[in-house]
């Protein structure tokens, strides 16, 4: 396929940026484009590109347009697929939006269309990772009453899971930190805040040495490990299935798997 002569849009990698790019493609009459993130864009390979500046008003117009044309479940797919951070997904989302806007309502159900299906499937993968993190977060209680956890999800699901944790743990302060993306979400009994922690503190958290742990913490960690062992039925042992459900890359963050790696 010849993509060389397609206009190149450079955006900031944010959700609003993507929506702005979609808006501008209509203004500039570019039904097909190439889309790059500013961070990863290497200008020497391309001559001439269009800089997209995230624009809240333009973005919201596109979002409202989508809202009117697709079922709410598909709107959710669009949003979730974005958090996959996969290189190809930005362009797929762009093409999806163009396809939706250029056809009568209802075409979001055309799973025979490549982009419609790709968005649905990517959203499902992100959803699975979101669900997995809702399961795999393991809080440790620190001396000052804060429940904290470290995760390293495959996709950027922290924004997608914070509501679940806020609803469930409304009466305890907590902090979930994404080690890979170097930011966390903190709940202070009133609201959610995004936090970034400097490297030394982060090291302290994963090493769990410098943080002052609540006196009871050791007991419950131990009891949970005991429980995990006791509820297993040795005669049914099936490690293949175990690993399929609890892949090794998550063991580092799971209390019950401590020391198993």
């Amino acid at each position: 396929m010849l993509t060389d002569d397609l206009p190149i849009y450079i955006f900031d990698g944010t959700f609003y940026g993507l929506l702005t790019a979609i808006f501008e493609s209509y203004e500039r009459k570019h039904p097909r484009i190439q889309l790059c993130c500013r961070e990863t864009y290497a200008p020497e390979f391309f001559s001439g590109h269009i800089d997209i500046h995230s624009d809240k008003v333009k973005a919201q117009r596109v979002w409202r347009g989508l809202q009117q044309k697709v079922a709410s479940v598909h709107l959710g797919h669009f949003y979730k697929a974005f958090f996959s951070e996969q290189a190809a997904i930005h362009l797929a989302l762009f093409r999806y939006a163009r396809y939706i806007f250029d056809h009568p309502a209802g075409h979001d159900f055309n799973y025979g269309h490549e982009d419609v299906l790709a968005i649905a499937q990517m959203s499902q993968r992100v959803h699975r990772e979101k669900h997995r993190m809702e399961a795999f977060v393991r809080f440790k209680k620190s001396g000052n009453g804060l429940f904290f956890a470290v995760i390293s999800p495959d996709y950027n699901v922290l924004p997608l899971i914070s509501k679940h944790f806020r609803n469930r743990y409304a009466d305890q302060p907590w902090l979930i930190y994404d080690e890979r993306r170097k930011y966390g979400i903190h709940y202070d009994l009133h609201a959610l805040h995004e936090v970034t922690i400097d490297f030394t503190q982060e090291q302290a958290m994963t090493a769990q040495t410098a943080v002052i742990i609540d006196a009871q913490e050791e007991l419950y960690t131990q009891l949970w490990k005991d429980y995990f062992r006791s509820t297993n039925i040795a005669e049914r042992r099936n490690m293949k299935l175990h690993i399929q459900h609890v892949p090794r890359r998550y063991w580092r963050y799971l209390t019950e798997k401590e020391g198993k790696l």
Partner: protein, 417 residues
């Protein structure tokens, strides 16, 4: 203190693990007034090394028991370590596990200590304390103690999300053989109490909004498979009858793991019937989600499930006159009957074909198991076959293709079709 609670937990979790129910879904308790916890679609927080989902803290209040059911580790004649939790211990274990996001909630069962009401009354105290004092809105699954008074059982239903009582053996004869002190009649009586109360509360709620929820996630039961000689037909016909008459949410099938040298049952060391258990769960799914009647899958001619292949494939091979199914025109109900096509892909097919005839490459992308399904379907570009392969050839072909995937998966987590 530290060591004592560890010992208790080990004993009472070990004794509870044979109850296979792990579901934590089907309830929609909200976290009101900034308390703790909610329930929703259910989360498996981890999986044991046997591959089973760990969603709930599953424990017995005590493993002391006045009964002597031959299939049960806690039976009074068994020489084992015994222990009992206090009400406070169960509450603080639940709360501390829940706060650390280890679990979705509590599954509380018990041996029968002194008598049924004495035991049930303590279990009731635990759930009340959790709900009323701890402001806890997480999941609670409570086992009904057989023979407990209607008043206690009904009150417990106001605090639990799910209640269950086990049939234990698939037939009354089987149960009489191994636990003559128990009966299916008693189980039916208990299930009916909850069913009728739930109906009453629900209709009252239609008039008075503030009527409390009663066992919102419904009832379930469990049968032990392979301890007694029932056929798969006996098992699944019992399951269908209980689904129907007692509006059960789930029936669980627990492959018997030999725990005693009782000559009436398989000897210690016999492998638990895991494949059979898996096939029973698949049959259960076909009945609940794929609109199969149990008699289509299991009848006098075919009283037992095929261990080599899943029950949907077995059914399809027995009914060649129904196939091939045209993907572009057939009803949804027929499409979900095709081996290799699940609910999700069937829904996608129905939605997508409105936009044009579907082709093989699209079906493959939608996630159907095309290798399996191809022999049962036609789509826009299906190759023209001079002669359809006959069922016996097809069976051999598919068996050769299939990996050992169905041999190793456990019931709750399998990829079904």
């Amino acid at each position: 203190m530290y060591e004592r609670i560890r010992e208790k937990l080990s004993i009472l979790a070990d004794a509870a693990k044979y109850d296979v129910s792990c579901s934590s879904s089907g309830s929609d308790r909200k976290n009101t007034g900034k308390g703790i916890g909610d329930t929703g679609s259910g989360i498996c927080h981890t999986y044991t090394e046997d591959g089973r989902c760990v969603s709930l803290l599953k424990i017995l209040l005590t493993n002391f028991c006045i009964y002597d059911c031959a299939f049960c580790v806690s039976r009074r004649s068994n020489d084992i370590r015994r222990a009992a939790f206090t009400v406070e211990e169960v509450v603080s274990l639940t709360m501390n596990f829940y706060r650390r996001n280890y679990i979705e909630g509590l599954f509380l069962s018990s041996g029968i200590f002194k008598d049924a009401d004495y035991t049930m009354e303590r279990m009731l105290r635990i759930v009340k304390k959790l709900r009323l004092e701890e402001n806890y809105n997480g999941y609670i699954h409570l086992k009904t103690i057989p023979g407990a008074s209607e008043a206690l059982v009904t009150e417990a239903g106001l605090y639990a999300d799910r209640m269950s009582i086990n049939l234990e053996m698939p037939t009354e004869q089987g149960l009489q053989l191994l636990a003559p002190e128990k009966s299916h009649e008693e189980v039916k009586r208990e299930l009916a109490v909850i069913r009728d109360q739930a109906v009453a509360y629900n209709s009252e709620r239609k008039l008075i909004k503030t009527t409390p929820k009663f066992v919102p996630a419904g009832q379930s039961t469990q049968m032990v498979i392979g301890a007694t000689p029932e056929s798969d037909k006996d098992i699944m016909h019992t399951a269908q009858a209980f689904y129907k008459h007692y509006a059960l949410k789930r029936v669980y099938y627990s492959g018997y793991i030999p725990i005693s040298n009782d000559s009436r049952m398989p000897a210690v060391g016999t492998r638990p019937p895991l494949i059979r258990e898996n096939r029973l769960y698949q049959t259960d799914w076909l009945m609940r989600f794929y609109d199969f009647d149990v008699a289509e899958l299991l009848n006098d001619e075919h009283p037992n499930l095929d261990m080599d292949m899943d029950p949907k494939l077995a059914w399809a091979l027995r009914n060649p006159h129904i196939f091939p199914v045209d993907i572009n025109t057939a009803d949804y109900k027929l499409i979900i009957r095709v081996p290799g096509i699940g609910i999700r892909s069937a829904q996608k097919i129905i939605a997508a074909r409105k936009f044009g005839k579907l082709h093989i490459h699209q079906l493959k992308k939608m996630g159907i198991a095309y290798n399996r399904a191809q022999y049962f379907i036609r789509c826009a570009d299906s190759p023209f076959l001079l002669r359809e392969p006959d069922p016996s050839q097809l069976k051999a072909l598919l068996l050769r293709q299939s990996t050992s995937k169905y041999r190793t998966t456990a019931p709750e987590q399998l990829t079904l079709f």
